[in-house]
Amino acid sequence: MADQEFDLEPTRTQSVAERLAAEALIVDVDGFEGPLDLLLTLGRTQKVDLRKISILHLAEQYLEFVEKAKELRIELAADYLVMAAWLAFLKSRLLLPPDPTEEGPSGEELAAHLAFQLERLAAMRDSAAKLMARDQKGRDFFVRGVPENMTRVRRVTYTATLMDLMQAYARIRTKDEFRPFVMDRDSVFTMEQALERMRSMIGFSGTWTELSSYFPIGWDGDAMRKRSATAATFAATLQLAKEGKVELRQGGTFEPIQLRRREAAQDKIKPVENIGPQEVQDE
């Protein structure tokens, strides 16, 4: 805003045409889309490039417009009045020498921003007009009159891997075998094996015997084998207890578990409750 004018001369020398235009504006007050639109319209009456517009002059034009509206008792929306108040403030800032103690943007900065807003709004109006002047679909160019329907076809393909195939086969072929665990069988002592072993041995144990004495020979060395033998033998013991064939006892937590054959006379002793795994149940 280098060419900002700082005198009131333009107001006084306002031409008759301009005054008439201003009055016409007032009559058309409903036609404006807010204060910025009104300012832009007023600015156009300056008949200069928007970049060279005198904001001071514009502020005065606007204030004059509001005055006229008041005289004619036209009720203006609140935002027009807010703008008027602000423009009055801007005008004073532009006319008075800058006060160094005053905070906030200077009058020139405010004027510059207002000028930017007006120019931007004008540019958008212009662009909107250019856009609407373009060839438009359905007016200047046209789409296919008989679009063909796209038929949607859903196709399903099936897939399987070699692994699926082999696992499926393995599943079928081992269906009859009672081996619930699949591991390296060398180190696994199954409960079935333990059960078989104990059934043949239990008849001879009339006295309390430690569980570990039932472990198969050669299974106490390797840790993994030992664990498996212990688990299987213990599970087999539970099964036998459930069947009412043995009695179990343990002195305390982590004490050795002992067992002995159950005599027919000791019927009153309740068999151990169903603790064993489900698979253990009789075939």
């Binding site: 046209f142 296919r144 009159g145 949607r152 099936y158 499926a168 079928i172 009859d176 699949v182 591991m183």
Partner: protein, 226 residues
């Protein structure tokens, strides 16, 4: 070809001698093209004449346009007394939108397939014996459709049952040279593939999930008639 040349070639009178100032033939062609494209219905010659500038030779423009579209993706075709642009018949397949969905083969199918692969040639009765459950027609059909199994020789036993064998397509899909390359039970076990821990409610010996299979099979006696 320039408009003049084309007009000459078509034996049309030169532009200047025409009573009305009709646009050049190439322009008439463009117009017919645009109208046929945008119309929702085939357009009659009469209507084209009404819409084109006076003096236009619509019939000629149509012939030219038709020739221009020969062998293209769309064609200028005559529909009764009217004209339209239509997709070339050989490209009709493009007007379908295919969505392919890949699904895993059902358990029944994969088991049946495995039995055929390991025991081929195998009869249906043998498959059922090995699986311990009857084999539905749908399962066999699916495998036949996938071209993973096919009919083999008939077994020379009473009733001459058909057998099933796996196909080249099967070998290709599973990356096998030969069905004999399939690992044996021992190898499967060693490879840790015998994870056959029975799932709850699916204990060994219990007939499996598809009980309707049995009923379905009743009226499928004709399956193996070739």
């Amino acid at each position: 070809m320039s408009d003049e040349q084309m007009q000459e070639a078509l034996g049309l009178p030169p532009q200047e001698e025409s009573l009305f100032e009709a646009p050049p033939m190439a322009e008439q062609e463009r117009m017919v093209e645009a109208i046929l494209f945008a119309s929702a219905e085939p357009v009659s010659v009469k209507e084209l004449e009404a819409r084109l500038p006076h003096g236009s030779v619509v019939s000629q423009a149509l012939v030219n346009l038709q020739r221009r579209y020969e062998g293209r993706g769309v064609q200028v075709t005559r529909v009764g007394e009217a004209w339209a642009i239509r997709t070339a018949p050989d490209l009709g397949f493009l007007m379908q939108k295919e969505t392919v969905e890949t699904r895993k083969l059902s358990r029944a199918a994969i088991e049946t397939l495995a039995i055929v692969a390991y025991h081929q040639p195998v009869t249906r009765a043998e498959i059922e014996e090995i699986r311990g459950v009857s084999v539905s027609r749908g399962t066999v059909d699916q495998l036949l459709e996938l071209e993973w199994i096919r009919f083999g020789r008939r077994r020379m036993t009473p009733g001459r049952p058909v057998t099933f064998v796996v196909t080249q397509e099967f070998l290709d899909h599973f990356g096998l040279e030969n069905a004999r390359d399939l690992p044996g039970l021992k190898e499967l076990r060693a490879a840790g593939l015998l994870d056959n821990r029975p799932r709850p409610g699916n204990m060994p010996g219990v007939t499996n999930e598809d009980e309707e299979e049995v009923i379905e099979d009743e009226d499928q006696g004709d399956m193996f008639e070739e």
